[in-house]
């Protein structure tokens, strides 16, 4: 419940403040958001599996974000930033889909 409220509050704060993304963070923010989404779905799945642990969630959330940003940063330094961010998005997308499928099986039995 608090998680949902947090999500809404965060979105509202973002809507009202309309902050500009610092140029340094611009390439990494979209990847970080996708990684955080992945962590969120993973957490939801763990909750339904009955193995949810807030410590694990926090660590996976943060590490997901940091690793995704690092990979893109590394790709930028190597000159393959575009391709690598595509790769990260694909991998995270697949994970989100499989997590969503697990959640669906838990809730809908289908």
């Amino acid at each position: 419940m608090i998680a949902l409220i947090g999500l809404v509050v965060g979105a509202l704060v973002g809507l009202f403040l309309e902050p500009t993304v610092p140029a340094v963070l611009q390439p990494y923010l979209p990847i970080a958001v996708v990684a955080a989404l992945d962590a969120l779905f993973g957490g939801l799945r763990a909750l339904l599996d009955g193995v949810f642990d807030d410590r694990v969630f926090v660590i996976s959330f943060l590490s997901n974000v940091v690793v995704a940003a690092l990979i893109v940063f590394l790709g930028d330094q190597l000159g393959v930033g575009t391709q690598l961010s595509t790769a990260v998005v694909v991998v995270l997308g697949i994970r989100i889909f499989s997590n969503a499928a697990a959640i669906r099986r838990h809730l809908l039995k289908a």
Binding site: M1, G6, Q26, D53, K109
Partner: protein
């Protein structure tokens, strides 16, 4: 029933219950941290969406910008080529329409000249007005035709008598009622209008033994006056020739 089936029946309730239980607000440390992270996620999500919507090129990488620049440059070159082509085409069309317009104007001028000569168009210009009265006896048609011939000889370009335009095919005949011109009965006095050089026409008509003398011999009286502007307003509808067609132009002649 198999154990598997039992489990399947039991599970949905437990899954939804797990969800409901965890949604129930109880301020544990885990809930608060999760809420914080979710707030962070929502914030970042919205910020990124807005940035993506508002900022076009500034969020792109260098190689993407180079690619876009290349595309724009190539597109501009294509458009430039197109502009050159279209300019050339336009010049061609303008020249073509100029030529066409000149031809059309020449044709219109020719049509005017021939319309005046054939009696199709009203005409205006310097000329003479000749009024022939017949006090006693009717003037025979050949006498009037003689006047027409004399006017032609003197170079009159457009002639009308009464309200009849006289052309190359005009004729005068005597009928019991009077003189007919081109099938229309004329009634005296005969008012002639002729466009031509007034001096030449006047001289030609009044020479001794000429057209006017013949009219007077036939018992008519004449009144001739030179005018700066004569308006020949009568027109003749020219029918298409039924048998004659234009002969093919002879080359090298």
């Amino acid at each position: 029933m198999t154990p598997d089936h039992l489990q399947r029946q039991a599970e949905p309730r437990s899954a939804w219950r797990t969800l409901a239980r965890s949604f129930a607000p109880h301020a544990s440390r885990g809930q608060v941290i999760t809420g914080l992270l979710c707030a962070l996620l929502g914030f970042a999500l919205v910020v990124q969406v807005q940035a993506n919507r508002s900022e076009g090129l500034s969020s792109l990488r260098q190689n993407e910008l180079v690619r876009i620049l290349d595309e724009v440059t190539r597109r501009a070159e294509e458009l430039q080529t197109q502009v050159t082509d279209l300019r050339a085409q336009r010049t061609e069309l303008v020249t073509g329409s100029d030529t066409e317009r000149a031809a059309r104007e020449a044709a219109a001028a020719r049509a005017e000249v021939q319309g005046i000569l054939a009696g199709e168009l009203p005409a205006v210009g310097p000329g003479v007005e000749l009024i022939i009265r017949e006090p006693d006896q009717p003037i025979p048609a050949p006498v009037l035709y003689n006047v027409l011939e004399e006017l032609r000889n003197a170079g009159a370009e457009a002639i009308q008598v009464g309200d009849q335009r006289l052309t190359a095919s005009s004729y005068f005949i005597d009928t019991p009622d009077g003189v007919q011109v081109d099938g229309v009965l004329l009634s005296p006095p005969y008012r002639w209008l002729a466009i031509g050089d007034p001096d030449t026409v006047t001289t030609a008509l009044s020479i001794p033994g000429g057209a006017l003398a013949t009219v007077r011999n036939a018992g008519g009286s004449t009144g001739l006056s030179s005018l700066d502007e004569v308006q020949v307003t009568a027109v003749r509808v020219v029918e298409r020739p039924r048998y004659a067609t234009p002969a093919p132009a002879i080359d090298g002649g």
